[in-house]
Amino acid sequence: MAFLKVSSPHAHGPMSTGRVMRLVLMATIPGLVALTWFFGFGTLTNVLWASLSALAFEALALKLRKRPIAFYLNDCSALVTAFLLGIALPPGSPLWLILVGTGFAILLCKHMYGGMGYNPFNPAMAAYVLLLISFPVEMTNWLAPRGAVPASELLGPIDALLRSLGIGSAPIDGVSMATPLDILKQNDALLVDDLWAQTPQFGTVAGIGWEWVNLAFLLGGLYLLYRRVFTWHAPLSMLLAIAIMALLFNDGGSSASGGGALFNLFSGATMFGAFFIITDPVSSAVSNRGRVIYGALIGVLVYIIRAWGNYPDAVAFAVLLMNFAAPFIDHYTQPRTYGHKKPNAQEKA
């Protein structure tokens, strides 16, 4: 009779990495639905192409690295990267753009650093920034939302596929439209209230569609929080930081205004970033205190870049910049261990 000789603990919790990733994928559903409702099927084709190509690149990388392909594909981390990138790209992005993005994310940002768990930067955001800098025209070509244009102008599933393949007849320029963040950025003549009244893209608190998309991602994020996939520390501190920055620098709605707190919280990629990007554990700070600092600094950076930078949205840049700072934050936020007066890093200082 041979018994197993293993070290304790013998029991294991129900959580697994694959399960965590699948929960994240599930939590993107409300946001995907909202995006599709307001901007047509372009986001879904993004996600489709991104998923297929990311899985292919992941398999290729695993094969080159002589790792068991099925075992690692099963953790769904490549799918998560693909979803996040597909959501971040303008709806109906061309296939080649997506291929460049997923290839860069999976091959360079992930596997070149040693694969899952070793990447210092969030792969989806690194790819997004690469594309934004390299192909600004394609990357800023957002479609007009339902409400600003008739529903018939939105991309249908077939149109979206054809458009992504570059063989469709979809009138690209006809339906594309600046996002509210763009409009606010470009505005240098009108007061915010006038701008609001004159521009069809603005809705109740932020842009038409965008406020709902952000709400949907907030919903998905709260679900993940409920499932304890991550802690509240980073998302909450990021959102608070954005709100505080917007309130601090609110000039009453002049033409140079960076927008109010609500506008900033529900515009662009704010909620998506807060719950799906900065909560990426691999590239963020590790302790709870560290995550508070990490999230807050991202929030501050987001507002700074939106208000005074060259780009209308800033989540990707802010996240990448703070990815750099994560190890530094970790070093100074070591928690106090039981029986110790102070964390060791501070004891030494």
């Binding site: 009779m1 041979a2 018994f3 197993l4 000789k5 293993v6 070290s7 304790s8 603990p9 013998h10 029991a11 294991h12 919790g13 959580m15 697994s16 990495t17 399960r19 965590v20 075992f71 690692y72 953790d75 981390s77 694969g115 899952m116 768990g117 070793y118 304890r228 991550f230 802690t231 554990p281 691999v282 963020s284 590790v286 302790s287 709870n288 995550r291 970790d330 070591q334 928690p335 106090r336 261990t337 039981y338 029986g339 110790h340 060791n344 890093a345």
Partner: protein, 793 residues
């Protein structure tokens, strides 16, 4: 309601406690054989005090405590000692350790024993001794001897006595059922403990998942002032440090003991055992153990004799081995796997867990860490397990210590929550062991270093002694040499030079010249003072030649001093060097004067005879030259002189070599060699001067007439013959000869060098220097030879 605190982290694994709580505690009975390990506690193993074949009674001490942190062991039942030998004991490593094996007779016959009716009348030390003699060690898991905790110094008063009834591990119910069924005994034990440690308050901590136990304990504690505290169920609340934090809000300092903050903690099972020991005189020979897991069809708690084989209990519980792939001693979080069901139950065995494969499946392969931080969320001592995991993998021990690896209680919460199935605790255990090993190695290395340094010091001391002896010998040799010089038997050039200069200073021109050198000096002085007018041509030649010779001698002496100074790194090197230069300048001047004089006195009379041997030789040579010049063409003379110079140079080389060797070896004959060198040098210079003077000589038709009666001429003839012989050799052959002679010298020098090195002689450096020089010469000679060979070829 008492305030309770929360611990950081913690997890809520499935409790699985109800299965084994279906029935009361049941006596497991007496197995045929009991295996009683002599070490069931932390500290020194007990020493057996029975022999094989002895009959032992139940409760008889069979192993006595060795040392302060130790505990005795007793026979759990009556029978015969069958063996005292190593058996496999319950231990994560599956190791064997000495055990007393008792073949039970089934009579279960007690040794006479007696409880203390009124323990309050006894002093504390007696009570602590009673507890110690009963062999009571922490029954919660670690097995720390209870008496040691109680006999802690009185320097720090104990404020709080805590009884640990938490039992936070899943599956285990031994404490739970003991509290349910033996609450009164536990409270009685707590009273004894209170009497011993005199705390301000006594708390019994029980998790809120044991309502029946809580009720029973509260009922038993009624009116005693002992407070039974319940708190939310969470693993690992039952860790001693964690329970202290929950009940008091205090933290045991890292590396410290609960006593440091005025707290003593005991397991409730230990409290009950203390009661049995004090009030009934029964040592710790049995305990309650849970046998559970789905592979046992009748999970329950047993009152088990210590030493009962696990297999015996499994049989009682209808264990199905085919459904079980791992057998665990302890709980699913901190227990260890057993390889052998023959291992005995010991004082710390609270559970035997026999799960089915489905119940506790084998660990799946670990995936990459995604730094999710769930482990840090779960850690009850606020560590950063994932950071420690990276450091552990990289074996960065300093970083691990910085991250407080030593404070890890190995509860397994981090591994439990890890979504990537990384066996984190296993890494920490390995790293802890590595660090321990490294510390031991460091201590060992330090000892080795000390030994090495002591040895080094001894060797240096011995070398210094040897050197001192060598120097003493050298000094003695020098002294001997000096005394010899004083006797006039040897010419130590330095001594001679000193003597000369002294003589010159003190004597001056008035002293009658007693030796040729002084005569020369006298003459020189006379010449300077204007006496030169009265000097004849021969006298002048002789004087100049003498001056030349003596200057050459001084030059040689000065050169030698310089060399010595260089070798010894003397500060006066520069002074010596300028001395040498001056002497050289003087020598040049003298040579010029002599040449000029000779040129003007070409037909000098050959008959002039000096009483000085050197002058005589010069005279002879001059005579020869004057005479021979008629039969010798200037060309022939040049050739002859060149040959002579070459051969003299060789001899000079040889002499210098000998001298250097002698010096290197500290030979007392060095001075003699120096003189030889000097003489040869003088001769060489003379020859050179002659050669230089040659063009001034009258070119006359010369015939090679032999002046057979003249020794100088004979020498010249010999030299000529030699030259002729040499001339017959090709240039290449000459070069070959030179090479071979150099090689011989190198070989000799090498030999000497080896010898010197073997002896650790200081002169090795000098010799190796000489060797290098010779090697240089050899290389040059070889190159020349090669060039010649190529020309020939």
């Amino acid at each position: 309601m008492r305030k309770i605190w929360d611990i950081h982290g913690g997890i809520h694994p499935p409790e699985n406690k109800t299965q084994s709580l279906q029935d009361n505690i049941r006596a497991a009975g007496i197995p045929a054989q009991l295996i009683v390990p002599l070490s069931q506690h932390i500290g020194a193993p007990a020493a057996p005090i029975v022999n094989v074949g002895d009959r032992v009674l139940k409760g008889q001490m069979i192993g006595e405590a060795k040392g302060f942190v130790s505990a005795p062991v007793h026979a759990p039942s009556s029978g015969t000692v069958a063996a005292i030998e190593p058996r496999v004991i319950p231990h994560p490593s599956g190791m064997s350790a000495p055990c007393v094996v008792i073949n039970c007779d089934g009579k279960d016959e007690w040794i006479s024993h007696q409880g203390i009716s009124d323990y309050r009348s006894l002093d504390k030390n007696t009570l602590v001794d009673t507890i110690r003699n009963a062999g009571i060690a922490g029954m919660g898991g670690a097995g720390f001897p209870s008496s040691v905790k109680l006999s802690g110094g009185k320097d720090k008063p104990i404020e709080t006595l805590i009884l640990n009834g938490t039992e936070c591990e899943p599956y285990i119910t031994a404490d739970d059922i003991l509290m349910q069924e033996r609450a009164a005994e536990i409270i009685a034990g707590a009273e004894i403990l209170r009497h011993i440690v005199e705390p301000n308050e006594t708390l019994i901590g029980v998790e809120d998942n044991k309502p029946e136990a809580l009720a029973a304990m509260r009922a038993a504690a009624e009116g005693t002032g002992i407070e039974v505290v319940s708190f939310p169920t969470k693993y690992p609340s039952g860790g001693e440090k964690q329970l202290i934090q929950i009940l008091t809000g205090k933290e045991v300092p890292s590396g410290g003991l609960p006593a440091d903050i005025g707290i003593v903690c005991q397991n409730i099972g230990s409290a009950r055992a203390i009661y049995r020991a004090v009030c009934h005189g029964e040592p710790l020979i049995s305990r309650v153990t849970t046998v559970t897991g789905e592979a046992c069809s009748t999970p329950r708690n047993y009152d088990v004799l210590i030493g009962t084989p696990v297999q015996y209990l499994l049989d009682l519980s209808h264990f199905d081995a085919s459904r079980c792939i791992r057998l665990i001693m302890g709980g699913p979080m901190m227990g260890y796997t057993l390889q052998d069901t023959a291992v005995p139950i010991v004082k710390t065995s609270n559970c035997v867990l026999a799960p089915t494969v489905e119940e506790l499946p084998p660990p799946p392969p670990a995936q990459a860490c995604i730094r999710c931080g769930m482990c840090a969320e779960a850690c009850p001592v606020s560590l950063l397990p994932q950071q420690m995991y990276w450091f552990s993998r990289a074996q960065e021990h300093d970083k691990l210590e910085e991250h407080n690896l030593a404070d890890c209680i190995e509860c397994g919460a981090c591994s439990y929550v890890c979504p990537s199935n990384i066996p984190l605790v296993q890494y920490y255990r390995a790293s802890k062991a590595e660090i321990r090993q490294a510390q031991q190695d460091k201590i060992k290395a330090e000892r080795s270093k000390e030994r090495f340094e002591a040895r080094q010091a001894r060797i240096e001391r011995e070398a210094a002694e040897k050197e001192a002896k060598r120097k003493a010998r050298l000094e003695a040799a020098k002294a001997k040499q000096q005394s010899a010089t004083k006797d006039g038997s040897k010419d130590d050039i330095i001594q001679a030079a000193i003597a000369r200069s002294k003589a010159k200073k003190s004597g001056g021109a008035d002293n009658p010249p007693q030796d040729p050198a002084q005569a020369a000096i006298a003459r020189a002085q006379a010449a300077r003072s204007g006496d030169a007018v009265s000097e004849t041509a021969e006298e002048k030649t002789a004087r100049l030649e003498k001056q030349l010779a003596s200057t050459e001698k001084r030059l040689a002496a000065a050169q030698q001093k310089l060399q010595l100074a260089i070798d010894n790194n003397d500060d006066n090197v520069e002074a010596f060097r300028s001395g040498v230069e001056k002497t050289e300048g003087k020598l040049q001047a003298l040579r010029k004067e002599l040449d000029a004089h000779r040129a003007s006195q070409a037909p000098a009379p050959a008959e002039s005879v000096s009483d000085d041997p050197a002058a005589a030789a010069i005279a002879r040579a001059q005579a020869k030259r004057a005479g021979g010049a008629e039969t010798e063409s200037p060309d022939a003379a040049r050739e002859r002189l060149t040959t002579q110079i070459a051969s003299t140079e060789k001899r000079l080389d040889a002499a210098q070599q000998k001298h250097a060797d002698a010096q290197a070896q500290g030979d007392v004959n060095a001075a003699a060699f120096a003189t030889a060198v000097e003489k040869t040098q003088a001769k060489l210079d003379k020859l050179r001067a002659e050669l230089a003077a040659l063009p001034a000589a009258e070119p006359e038709p010369a015939a090679e007439a032999s002046n057979a009666d003249d020794p100088a001429a004979q020498a010249i003839a010999r030299a000529l013959a030699a030259r002729n012989a040499n001339a017959e050799l090709s240039e290449a052959d000459k070069a070959r000869n030179a090479v071979s002679s150099l090689e011989k010298r190198i070989a000799k020098t090498q030999q000497k060098l080896d010898q010197a090195q073997a002896d650790g002689d200081d002169n090795a450096a000098i010799l190796s220097d000489t060797l290098a020089k010779l090697q240089g010469k050899l290389d040059e000679a070889r190159q020349a030879l090669d060039a010649l060979s190529q020309e020939e070829g």
